[in-house]
Subunit: 361 residues, 2 copies
């Protein structure tokens, strides 16, 4: 492990010059820079991030806070953030809150943040009051994805609109008996995303002049398994909707599975629409309202880097286009029509299918 003074000696300059040359700051004559670069390369020299942090007071590490890592949305967002940060030589410290169900999770602590990260990105985590106090005391820049963190920039989609878009599609197709999967237990209502998506459904139904059957509004833990369980109960009754709008694609897949098990054909007997464009949704031909998770991760990273690097010399990225004065960026969503929603009509000869017909009618 060579150190900066090894390089200085090899290049015949001082350590200060090596430091400057390698970081490209201040002015260094191009000849000496060349010599330094060459020496560093030959010695396989890499500056110690720890020593650099200690001396500079900046760690170039961002804490990435997520309730789970194993679900598609979160893994995709983490991946996008990590990639965006890397381009600016920042690194990710994973902070997995290990939410089980939607209620329990570990808390953010002083110990995991203090002197460790320059900033924080949260992915759909409802921050608790005491955690907010902590962030304030630490003076950490924070950017939230999805669930907002009061007083900090937010990157999200319009969740109510997303569901509304899917619902409108079903209504246009002629459906009036429409259910919803994705309400949450009352105790989980601090989670904004499920709540807003449900709001989109309720408001939309009302505006379309359609009655909401409360027995068709299924609440669960937002997993495919949970939705499947509730759908299974619904299909066992003699009062079944002709369409189900789902708060997420994973839940939609759970609903479809149980529909088929119950002998219903999708989409002939039951139309299903989700939200997300989950990575298996095209394979199962699920009609959905797409959200761009990667764009959200990148925007959050860029926003944070912008504030972090604003004071420093040189290249701070611009704020992502669309980030408003009030610190909110709403990424658009779009309807993606595949096979699982269709116009209501009487029996056809089409084979029952989990997937829905390849094209919609």
């Amino acid at each position: 492990m060579s150190t900066i003074s090894d390089v200085a000696r090899a290049a015949g300059v001082s350590v200060a010059t090596v430091s400057r040359a390698l970081r490209g700051v201040s002015t260094v004559s191009s000849q000496t820079r060349e010599r330094v670069l060459k020496a560093a390369d030959e010695l396989h020299y890499v500056a110690s991030p720890m020593a650099a942090s200690l001396a500079s007071g900046r760690t170039r590490v961002i804490g990435l806070v997520t309730p789970f890592l194993t679900r598609w949305f979160f893994a995709t967002a983490v991946s996008a953030v990590e990639k965006a940060l890397r381009e600016f030589d920042f690194h990710v410290l994973l902070i997995d809150l290990e939410a089980d169900s939607m209620l329990e999770r570990r808390a953010l602590t002083n110990k995991m943040l203090s002197k460790r990260v320059d900033g924080l990105i949260t992915i759909n985590v409802p921050i608790r009051p005491e955690e907010l106090t902590l962030l304030e005391r630490l003076g950490l820049p924070v950017v939230a994805i999805g669930n907002p963190v009061p007083g900090h920039p937010l990157v999200h989609i319009d969740d109510a609109l997303a569901v509304r878009t899917g619902l409108d599609h079903l209504v246009n197709l002629g459906h009036t008996r429409i259910g919803y999967a994705g309400a949450v237990p009352a105790r989980a209502e601090h989670r904004l995303v499920p709540r807003q998506r449900l709001t989109g459904f309720r408001d939309g139904m009302t505006e379309h002049g359609l009655a909401i059957q409360e027995s068709w509004v299924m609440s669960c833990d937002w997993s495919a398994q949970g939705a499947a369980r509730r759908a299974s109960e619904l299909f066992a009754t003699d009062n079944v909707p002709t369409a189900i709008m789902c708060g997420s694609d994973e839940m939609a897949i759970g609903v479809m599975s149980e529909a088929i098990s119950a002998g219903l054909r999708v989409p002939e007997d039951l139309s299903v629409v989700g939200v997300d464009d989950y990575y298996l949704s095209d394979v199962v031909r699920l009609t959905t309202v797409r959200q761009d998770v990667i764009a959200q991760g990148e925007a959050a990273a860029t926003t944070l880097l912008h504030t972090l690097l604003a004071t420093s010399t040189g290249s701070a990225p611009d704020l992502p286009s669309g980030m408003s004065e009030d610190q909110v960026l709403t990424v658009p969503t779009t309807l993606v029509r595949r096979g699982t929603a269709s116009r209501i009509r009487s029996g056809t000869g089409a084979p029952a299918s989990f997937l829905g017909s390849p094209t919609e009618h």
Copy 2:
């Protein structure tokens, strides 16, 4: 941000004593320890990891190398490793190689490892010769999951056996016309897992005295989409197997989807078995050979911590039970019967279903 000397002053002791008390090393009288702890607490003191690293030469950071983060297997493994390391106050530095297809990926570089991590865990990454040289020069302890890294401990499953287990099940059910999804293009054959799973299929078929139809051995990129595409081509021919063994559950889901689209009933017309026990597999009632990804992640973390902490005073974890002298731990796999495989028989009145019947026959 209080420092160690703030605490020392507040507690009326030296910084060395604070350091000792807080780390629980050496001997400190319980009364002074109490005073130190109290002072530290009141000052919200947390030791700077950077300063500690610089002084001790250890970072307590493990590089976690993965080809993707967005796929279930990898996200699950990362999560398990992170959790296991955290218990010993170690942290994860994410190194996402961003493999696209199975061929291209970023390389491991000196810069991302040097002076930054105490060790490395790789998740299914075939290491290149020059990378191996780098690891050697750095003297980094490495533990591999899945795809081995020559000369380092390995935690994996018996991939050939896993497929063999699924295949045996199909054969027991009476199938003889069996296809396979999950071969890979020749250029991707440095990936050991796909290769060994295919080997399990070929050897198993041979030992059962069954003929392998090469047109039924489908190679793809190991995604659900890729498998779906190949299956779709197969189902368009007039020579279709009665069962398809799949190298992964995600591929199995792709295969099932296309089967249904092609008008085949699962499992009545086509039995499907996968490997993994993917998190949606129970929802779609996929019969599969389960592997315990979390156990593998934990075992890899424990193995690495064991060697890392072996010299230091105090609590190094034991090697995971089953880790052999030759540094290989093979985690067992088990058949999980759900609905998508069934005994061959002539037409029943059962409804066509993506999911397969709830119970097998």
